[in-house]
Structures are given as C-alpha cells and as structure tokens.
Symmetry: C2
Subunit: 512 residues, 2 copies
Amino acid sequence: MNGAESLVHTLLGAGVDVCFANPGTSEMHFVAALDRVPGMRCVLGLQENVVTGMADGYWRMARKPAATLLHCGPGLANGLANLHNARRARSGIVNCVGDQATYHRPHDAPLTADTEGWARGVSVWVRTSQRAAEVGRDAAVAVQAAMTSPGQVATLILPSDTCWDEGGEVAAPLPVPAAPQADPLAIRNAARVLRERKDVLILLGGLALTQEAQALAWSVAQATGNAVMAEGSNGRMERGRGRLALERVPYPADQAIEALKPYGAIVLVNSRPPVGFFAYPGKPSRHHRLDAETCLLTRYEADPIQALRALAEEVGAKPVAFRDPGPRPDPARGAPTPEGLARTMAALMPEDAVVADESVSFGRGFFKETYAAPPHDWLQITGGAIGCGIPLATGAAIGAKGRRVVNLQADGSGMYTLQGLWTQAREKLPVTTVVLSNRKYAILLGEYRGVGANPGRTAMDMLDLGNPDLNWVKLAEGMGVEAAKTSTLEGCGDLMKQSFAKDGPFLIELEI
Amino acid sequence: MNGAESLVHTLLGAGVDVCFANPGTSEMHFVAALDRVPGMRCVLGLQENVVTGMADGYWRMARKPAATLLHCGPGLANGLANLHNARRARSGIVNCVGDQATYHRPHDAPLTADTEGWARGVSVWVRTSQRAAEVGRDAAVAVQAAMTSPGQVATLILPSDTCWDEGGEVAAPLPVPAAPQADPLAIRNAARVLRERKDVLILLGGLALTQEAQALAWSVAQATGNAVMAEGSNGRMERGRGRLALERVPYPADQAIEALKPYGAIVLVNSRPPVGFFAYPGKPSRHHRLDAETCLLTRYEADPIQALRALAEEVGAKPVAFRDPGPRPDPARGAPTPEGLARTMAALMPEDAVVADESVSFGRGFFKETYAAPPHDWLQITGGAIGCGIPLATGAAIGAKGRRVVNLQADGSGMYTLQGLWTQAREKLPVTTVVLSNRKYAILLGEYRGVGANPGRTAMDMLDLGNPDLNWVKLAEGMGVEAAKTSTLEGCGDLMKQSFAKDGPFLIELEI
C-alpha cells in the first residue's frame, strides 16, 4: 500500500467521505488512490477558493469535515480567503495540500513556495508528512484536529513521494475530545449579573445559535428581564417559525453602538465582545459601552447547552414560548427593496431551506422580514473575505442533502468565485442563486461618502461595476446553469417558485 | 496632507503612474487620495489574482513597476498565486495592501489576518507603515526595492489610520542601484570552458533573453563551436524574425534529460541549472548530466550585456548573423493541431505583437513554428501557478501601449481568472484571447497515465471539464467581450484577422 492509499483509507475510516478537489501533477497518486479505494465522493471546483468555500459550507450543514485536495503552495494560496472565512466560522476542514517531493523541494523548482507558511494563518494545525509510513497517522491526527470543538481547519501537506512510496499504514480514527463544559464559577457569576441588573445582554455566537440554545437563552432572559442578541457574523443560525426572532449586532458602527448602548452588562455565550469590522476616524473600536461589565459564560469551543441549562436552573428560569412572529408574509411586488425581497423569500422559501447570505450592504434588512418564514438555516460570510457565497451555497447543498439552498449574492462579491456555478451544474445541486445586480461595490460607495466626499472619476473607476455591465444570465449559462433576469419582485418571486420545483441549480439576476 | 496623499504623490514622483486595484473599506482614503491627486491611471480587476497578474504583465512590457491596491490579508491572499508567478518572472511590483488601523488590529476583527506573513513568501521586501509621517518614506523605499535589478515584488502594508491621519510627507525618489557587473574571474572561467570544450551549453534566462543578449551569446557560441538554449519558463523573450531561433529546455522530464544529454558543461547567463518542474519516481531532480560542469557567468540580477560583451571579447567572437528561419509560414487549415495553430499565428500576427502564453500542454510545440513570425515578445507562465494568462495579457496590453496582445489560453487555467476579460472590455484593450478548449485538464490526464493507469470514474471526475461543457463565448459576452467559436484552423485564422483589425478585445473559443 502506498502513502496515498493509506491516506484515503484513513480518511474514510474516520468518516471523511467527501473530498472537494482541484488536483495537480503532484497529487496524481492521491487521485489514483481515490480511484482505487471506493467510497469517497470527489467534487471538483474550477478554482481553489471555490474548493475551500465548498468545504466550509459542507461542514456548516453536515457538522462533519470534508477533505480538500489542493495543489502546492499557489493552489493553497488561491483557497486561503475562504479558509479564512472557514476559520472565522469555526468550520472543521481536513485541508490536504499536495506538494513537491521531499528531496525535490531543495531544488526550488518554479512551483515551489512556502506552503507551510501560507497555511499557518488559517490553520490551527499544520503538518508536512515526511514518509509514506507517517501519512496515515498524520491524517488521523488531522481529522481529530478538524473535529475538535467547535471545528477547526487542519492542514496536512503531502509531498508527492510520501504519496507514491510504498509502506503506507492505515491509522485508526482518534477519539475526538468532548466540548469543554462551562466553569461552575462562570455560571454563578453570570446568574448573579442577570439577577442583579435589568440591562444585561445575553450575546449568542457559534454553537449557541441552535434552536435549543436560543430557547434556553430566551427563558433566562424572560425570567430575569434581560435581552438576547446574536453576534454580527454567524456561521449558521437556526431561524424562522419556531425559533427566536433574534437580532444581530448591526454592521455599521453607529448602529452597533446605538443598539448596544442600553446594556450595562454582556453575558458572552460562545461569543466575543463586539468590535467594529473596521476602524473609522474618531469612532471607538469596541462597540459596547466601555463601562459595560462583560461576563464570559462559555468560550467559543465550549458546550453552550450544558452551560445555559445550568444557568437557567440557577436563575430559576422555566421554558417559555418564543414570541409569535405573526403571519407568514405575502410576496412583495414592484421595484426591488431589501424588505420586499426578504418578504418574498419568507413567503416562498420551502420548509427547511438553507440561506447562504453574501448580500453585503443590500441584505442588512433581511432578518426582520424573515422571522415568520418556515424553519430554515441562515449562513453568513464570517470573515469578511468576499467571494464566499457561491462556494458556500454549493458545499451546503452537498452537506444538507436534498434541502433547497438559496444564495443571496451581491454581484461584486459573486464575481470573485463565479466558477462555483459550474460545480452546481455538474453535481445537479438544488441551489437558487439570486444575484443582487446593482453594478457597483455599493458598500464601498457608502464607505467612500463616509470619508466625506462624493467620488470623482478616478474613484468611480474603482467602485463602479458598470461599463460594461455584467450579464449574469450569460455567465451562468456559460457554466451550464439555467438563468433568467428580472427587475421586479413579482418576477423574482415567479422565478424562485419555478426554481424550487427543479432538481438542479438556477440563477436569478435581480436588477436592483 | 494625509498619509494616503503622501503615498500617491511619492509614487507619482518615482514614476509609478499605473495602479491595478481592487480596494475595500480600509482603502477608502487611498481611493480618495487617488481622486484628489491627478496623474495615476487606476485599473480595476474584479478579483485580486487578476490585479496582481496584470501588474506582472505590465512590468514585463513596460519595465517599470505598477502599484497594486489590495484589501487586507484575504485580498492579498487572493492575489498570491500571480505574485508567485511575478516573483519567478522577477517582475517589479509595488504591492500596496491596505489593512486594519494600527490600534484596531489587536481587537482581531473578522477580516484581520496575518497580512505580513502571507506577503513574505512572494516579496523580497515587506514593511507595514506605522504612522502617516512614514508612509511617503516607506513608499519611496518600496519603489526602490521593486526597481532593483532585475525587478522584485515589494509589499507595503498600509494600516488605514496611516492613510487618514494628517502629517503625511512626500518622499523624493531613491536611487535605484545599477545591475551588478559580472566578476572578471567568472568571465575568464566561462571563456576557458568555452574554448576548451565543444560540448558547452550557454543557457540564457531572465534579462539575457533580449535580442542584444541573444546576438552576443550566439556570436560566442559560433566562435567556440558551442550551443545556446533558453530556460524552460521565461518572463519575456524577444522572438521572431531578426532574433535567435532559441529552443527552451523542454518541460517533460524525459525530453529535458535527452535535450541536455549532449552537454558536458553549462554556462549560466542569468539562469539556473535546469531542474524538473516536478519530481517523478525514479527520475532525477536535476535534468542536466550530473557530471556536467556548471559555470556561472551572471546571476539573475546581473547585467548580461556587459558580461556577454566581455566574454565575446575574451573568446575573440565577432558579430554573426542569426540563421535565417526560412519564409513566413502560411496559415494552416483543418482540425487544430499545436503546429497548425502556431503556423497560423506566425502567418497572421501583426508586427511587434505580444504573446501571453498559458497554453500549457497544447502549447509545447508552438516555438518551432513561430521563428519566422514578425518580431514579437513571448511571455510565459513562470511559476507554474495557473490562472496567469488572462491577467498577464491584460496588464501587458497596458504596459505595451497599442501593441496587439495574443493570449494563448488553456481552458482549465483560463477559468481561474476569467474575470480579467471584464477589465479588457472596460479598458478597451487590444487583446485577442484564443481559448484552447479541450474540456479537460489535459496535462493531468497525461500525468495520470504516467502514474501507470487509465483514469477511472473518480479520477475522471477530477480531470475532465466536460459535463457540463463550458461555453466561452457566453462567458466572454457576459463580461462585455465579443467572442466566437470555431473548430477549424481556417476559422481561427479568420477570427484572428478580424480581431487584429479591432481596437478592443476579442475571444476565440477554439475547440481542440
């Protein structure tokens, strides 16, 4: 057995049975092993940021890691931005990177690069296998690292000789450590704060965004007269009817500061104190009140259910029903507005849909209008590295087998990784992409005006995506995805309905 | 004056007047400064690997650096692969990366990443400005580093507060050190080897691929009865009628070993001893004879003209005419073959064209058939990081003002950075892209068979780009570039001729 075969056997043995791939010459023995050893679903992406973004989306829905297969340092580099998003979403990925043979590396051939160095910034764990006999063992550790709560990026670099040499040994799966339990002192301290004050915000993040965690947090808040909110960017949130109508900390600095002003204390449940996405002249980096008491219930890797249960008991909270979000809205008509599009979504989305949201500035109002939608999962861009939406939707469709995915996609960000549409067509995935086509980097136009001026000709050359206009229908069709354009909400609604009845992908270019 | 304004003034003062950009929020003061300070041509790319690849192509033709404008760590990450190619091409780039404000970075906001760490692998020089007053000085050093022979990637990281704070100071351009002269001992040693043996290869690379260097090397080879060849991957080579019919060291290991077998000594002129692009089981990493004497005339940064002149004098070489490459070929007809396409190119390309070659496996035979073409420059993918061709052609068209660029583009590699077509349309650049549409990673199918097996279903899922077929005409039209498809060489020739008569870009999808 060669090293590559031991790798595939070890991954499969540990339950890793999907591989998002864009291989090169140095990975041919890995590819050959995937051919010989049955059981791995291999999904090709036409650029590596599509590959890594798919692995992120897969984890967020399947809650188990996929493997990637990338080609040398530059192949890894192409996938770093979505690995950055995955790191911020705390997604587990077994990130496999083929590389030059151990004895070839010192010759500094053209493709040789600092593969380990590039991997470190996005990985909790990086290892370069040195011999075929070590590949299986290293792969088992990589899977363990990827699955360690709440999910982590583990990068395994495989010099080509470690794959083609004989002497590979399959390694048994390693035990995954349980998520840590909260410190009893932290629970008592949070309970004290919640009992003593009426201006406490319970801030939920990461693992604490499930329906179960929401219910526990809501019961605590109701029992103590306090509030609940979610962090600004979240990997996955359970939403819709039967879940908590949970607001996020707003993105714009002024709105965030305003929203957090009432709170003299914050109880952190798998979350961090809110800071600005960016700094702005004269505005604070921290968006909560500087006199606010921050009180850590659970770090991001801990089990929030156990902690929230204990907290509920401590404050004597009983289960209480969520507020009724009111009737399901009707689809909206006329010119597209954020609220209208969100209402149309809420009116039409199927039960148990997945929303992959890279709507950027247009999408900031989507939450309020979708509380009464059927139960669904909402995935956000977590690390601010644009180009996340299309790959995330693609991977989520594979991880959430059979559920409809709706990708709300800003056009400028969508252009970063449009290649992912081809994978949707090839794998016949149930993804409806709604491209919010405003032909500009709208978020940046807003930011530019914040600098204090109207953009001139040179600035507009860098902020405007018109001249020429992108034609998303042709781009989608060029990759085998059916598509249509509309400029009204009723048109968008009709196309959504049609797409939800199909098995495969569909793209709607919505002119906004 | 704020820091951003001092940056723009300093760049312009040093002659850097083109900026390839994809800005974000943290770069808005830089964008505003570009608006206020006239003189910089700003060219938008819709993904950062397009931006950095354009900067590489620009340098190769203009021989002066452009600036880039990238957004934080992930924006830099997206551009690393083409910075890797630029590093291998030894192109000068002033790589500007905006980042979180100095005081905001410790808060680890979502987009915060290891910007410096990612930059190091591709840059000879990395600096993060700390205060507005330092930005001008740092920019002047960055330009100096970028222009230091033979051309280098210098990365200047600009925290947003160093751009918006007042106190910016414009810095005067710094002197660029002259290219080092060859060691007189090295010249005498090379002369001795060339006089004593008849099995010497003069291997040209980098700066030694100009017509002038070719003429000197050819005269030395003719005077001493020895041979001349070029490295396998070259940033820019002057070719066609009136230049040396220069073979490259072949890419496939067996062919390279065979081509280098006759040579008992190699004189390195701005080149390195040939090594394999990849290692293969049982094949050597070094492709020259292990008993070959390697003799360094000039390192990559040295002036090859001075060294070759001195060498010619030392061996008593007189100028000799290049061999006549024979008549200009006629365009080929029928089904596309590499030789036929190359003949068609040679027959039709305008005087002084620029060829951006990312033809990968299909293009290995292009050189032999284009010696009798009109004089032209040939740019290759230098670092093996695919996705170089479209951006390189785009930047070359800006750097080589008015000259027609022909981009010979493999389809799989083209999909990596297809967004570059949009920039060609926006800037109305004279680029003819010929997509070699074989709907597979043909190079990998060859490599897979080298592993010793025919690919099965799983392997084909990762090597085949059909299912669904890409439609390059739609993809190009979706980005505003006129396009047409053909499956014959005469069809391709007709479309080439049409495109050469246009001002703007055109894409030909050639089914091969």
